[in-house]
């Protein structure tokens, strides 16, 4: 009988037990540890390698790329700034003043846009360094669209978490029918879109007023929320052709505003989905108390609710920003030159006469991914703290 008790004593274990059993509770056995580290290190290499390759290629010249693979800078090949210089030299406008001119253009065109309802100011043409143009475009469009999207999305998400809505089912049917009629009248009868749109809108309000009380079936907040989130399932390619036509009709093609709007719409489902979860998780007494104290709904939202969801708001904003920064499909359809973003500039390097200019392209990709990697590290902290987990738990 004493044999069995001896077997469980730590000091007397055999080689196999020592290899395959953890030394104490909460630790891993040596073999398991070896395999775990092997897998993790292999995966780290797999993750790093493509990034590493892009970065070193950005510091190669044409010869170093074309003559075959060179792996390690300073040993295999001499890194140089050729690619970066070519990016500048190929463009007559990329001189020392390029950044200043770019800023001037930005300010001028912003004023031109803001004043456009009052007076006509000719927007400045982008006779300007392509890289700076694309970079500022990406930045301006990304930030503006994120602000728009997070603001509108949070408002809607809060409302859906706290205010009861009861849209009538019948009104939705009327809306759908009128929309279809408007589209048919515009496409096949040849009426102007603004005529049909205003007639449809006016008819909708009239009919909703007149018939609204007759409809009994209503939808609830859950349905609206599901409807907004489910927009994410819509492939961009479905809406992109009509959006192209719509933008053409109101001359939003190749403008910042056009991309800002379409990016905001594309990301609204994500923002609403994530923010709804944060708002619903707040203790409602805080808002009730503020309501009794006399605060308005917007006051409560601004003064009580938003400060309390700051981590969630920050994480959502960052995520939206990254998605906007990386977006390619909408940009390739809706921009040509003035509003072109970084991804467009990158893919333009693919179509050179002398084949793909890898070194130049890699330089651009490096410019694109540096801010994103910084953002990723910040965002990762939020996710590690479980900030975004709640929404997925459903």
């Amino acid at each position: 009988m004493s044999d069995t008790s001896y077997k469980f004593q730590k000091a007397n274990r055999g080689l196999m037990e020592r290899l395959f059993e953890p030394p104490q509770v909460g630790k891993m056995s040596p073999v398991a540890k070896f395999f775990a580290y092997a897998v993790l290190i292999f995966w780290s290499l797999f993750v790093i390698f493509p990034i590493y390759w892009v970065v070193i290629t950005a510091f190669k010249d044409a010869a170093a790329v074309n003559q075959g693979p060179y792996y390690i800078p300073f040993i295999d090949f001499q890194p140089n700034l050729d690619a970066w210089r070519v990016l500048q030299a190929a463009d007559p406008f990329c001189d020392g003043y390029a950044i200043m001119r770019q800023l001037g253009l930005l300010v001028h065109n912003t004023f031109a846009f803001l004043l456009s309802p009052l007076m006509h100011v000719e927007p400045m043409e982008p006779q300007i360094c392509k890289i700076y143009l694309a970079f500022t475009n990406s930045l301006v469009i990304g930030v503006a669209s994120t602000l728009l999207c997070v603001t509108l999305g949070s408002l809607a998400a809060y409302a859906l978490a706290r205010i009861e809505y009861k849209p009538k089912f019948g009104n939705i049917i009327i809306f759908v029918i009128l929309t279809l009629m408007m589209i048919l009248a515009t496409s096949f009868v040849g009426l102007k879109w603004y005529v049909t749109a205003s007639v449809a809108l006016a008819l909708f309000f009239l009919m909703a007023r007149a018939l609204g009380n007759k409809f009994k079936a209503t939808l609830g907040n859950g349905d609206i929320l599901f409807w907004i989130i489910s927009q994410r399932i819509l492939p961009p390619i479905v809406v992109i052709i009509p959006v192209y036509m719509m933008f053409q009709a109101v001359s939003l093609l190749d403008t910042h505003l056009g991309l800002i709007i379409i990016y905001a719409v594309a990301n609204l489902p994500i923002v609403v989905w994530l923010m709804h979860d944060f708002f619903a998780g707040l203790p409602i007494e805080l808002e009730e108390s503020a309501q009794l104290d006399g605060a308005t709904r917007f006051g409560i939202f601004w003064d009580i609710v938003l400060p309390l969801t700051r981590p969630g708001l920050a994480a959502t904003t960052l995520l939206t920003l990254i998605l906007n920064w990386n977006e390619y499909l909408f940009a390739v359809f809706l921009t040509t030159s003035k509003a072109m973003t970084m991804p467009i500039l990158v893919s333009a390097k693919n179509a050179g006469e002398k084949g793909v200019l890898w070194w130049e392209m890699c330089a651009l990709i490096v410019v694109m991914i540096i801010p994103v990697i910084v953002a990723a590290i910040v965002l990762q902290r939020f996710i590690a703290k479980g900030v975004l987990l709640g929404a997925v738990k459903g």
Binding site: L180, V243, Y328
Partner: protein
Amino acid sequence: MSHSSDINQPGETPAGLSARQSWAEWIDRHSRTFFIAPAVSLILIFAIFPTFYSIVFALSRVKFTATGLRFRFVWFDNFISEFTGAEQGHFLGRLEGLSVLGWLFAVVVFAAVLWWLYRSAKNGSTWVGMIGRLISASMALFVTYLLASTLFSGNQWGTLLTTLFYVVVGCSLQFIIGTALAFLCSQPIFGKSFFRVLFFIPLMITPLGVGYAFKMVLDITKGPFQPLWDWIGWQNWAWSTDAWAARFFVILGDSWQWIPFIFIIMLAALENVPRDHVEAAQVDGASSIQIFREITWPQIVPVAVTVILIRMIEAFKIVDLPNIMTSGGPGIATESMTLHSYFLWRANDMGSSAAVAYLLLILSVIVCSSFFNYVVLGQLRKAHR
């Protein structure tokens, strides 16, 4: 400090408020509209309206003229040509000659689907549920038919099956690897926070950059693995001319980008499992794999299925990677439906382009909502019970 004396009428703006205050009061009274109207109208104008508008494109022959677009209504011609007409080979694949293996496969799956329908009808389900099941089942049968007459009969398949291939194979692969990595990172190992930051980064890199990076890395003659290809003797072979190798490498790039998504959320879920459950099992002497299977996994299933659903929804939209890495080639081997629609648009065939886009929408709605109804809902219900 009393504020009640100047308020007399219930629910109305109190007398004696200044114009600015009553303006603020008016906004507050209508705040329910102001909160939600901007977001809803943006979606209505730029998502719902274009979706409807797209129907007109899909049902028309569209011509560019000097004055704008000219639509000619052709009913379902665009769709018909995708299914039975000239575009059939491109969209569905070459559907000629069912092989014995194809027959066998088709019969087995048909039987399984019918059995599933019979079971759910017997167990009693609502009319709506039954219609949903019928739609899912006919979708499954159609895909089975396509698989049987292309893959199992040695014919090339079309963009529909390619898209499904990316979704099904890509998602499964990414889920398994992502969860395994998350499990490893949730163990007591050194350098945890380094690994979790590093593994997260690919998700944030622009898909375009991922595509070019993989195209470069996998280059046969100039890429870093050139000595390896040489050694195997593949210097005269290019993966971009082999259908399966091209598909595999597209999935590889896609996985490089998306495994981090699964990884990071599964890791957060794993670490959210109450410590004392795990500790109780450790005291009982369970190994870490047993703990994972018996304690942890049942608690993270709801997150797992939701994550798969989200990944699936996004996977249907795949376009950047195949476009950059292979331009859909060799032939149409790696062409996803979005890419198919994009190529049609570039060829100025807007009607067909819209039709393919619509078919993609229908496909992804049916597959995703089937998954949601039969898998996600079931797991969520089990978890909340």
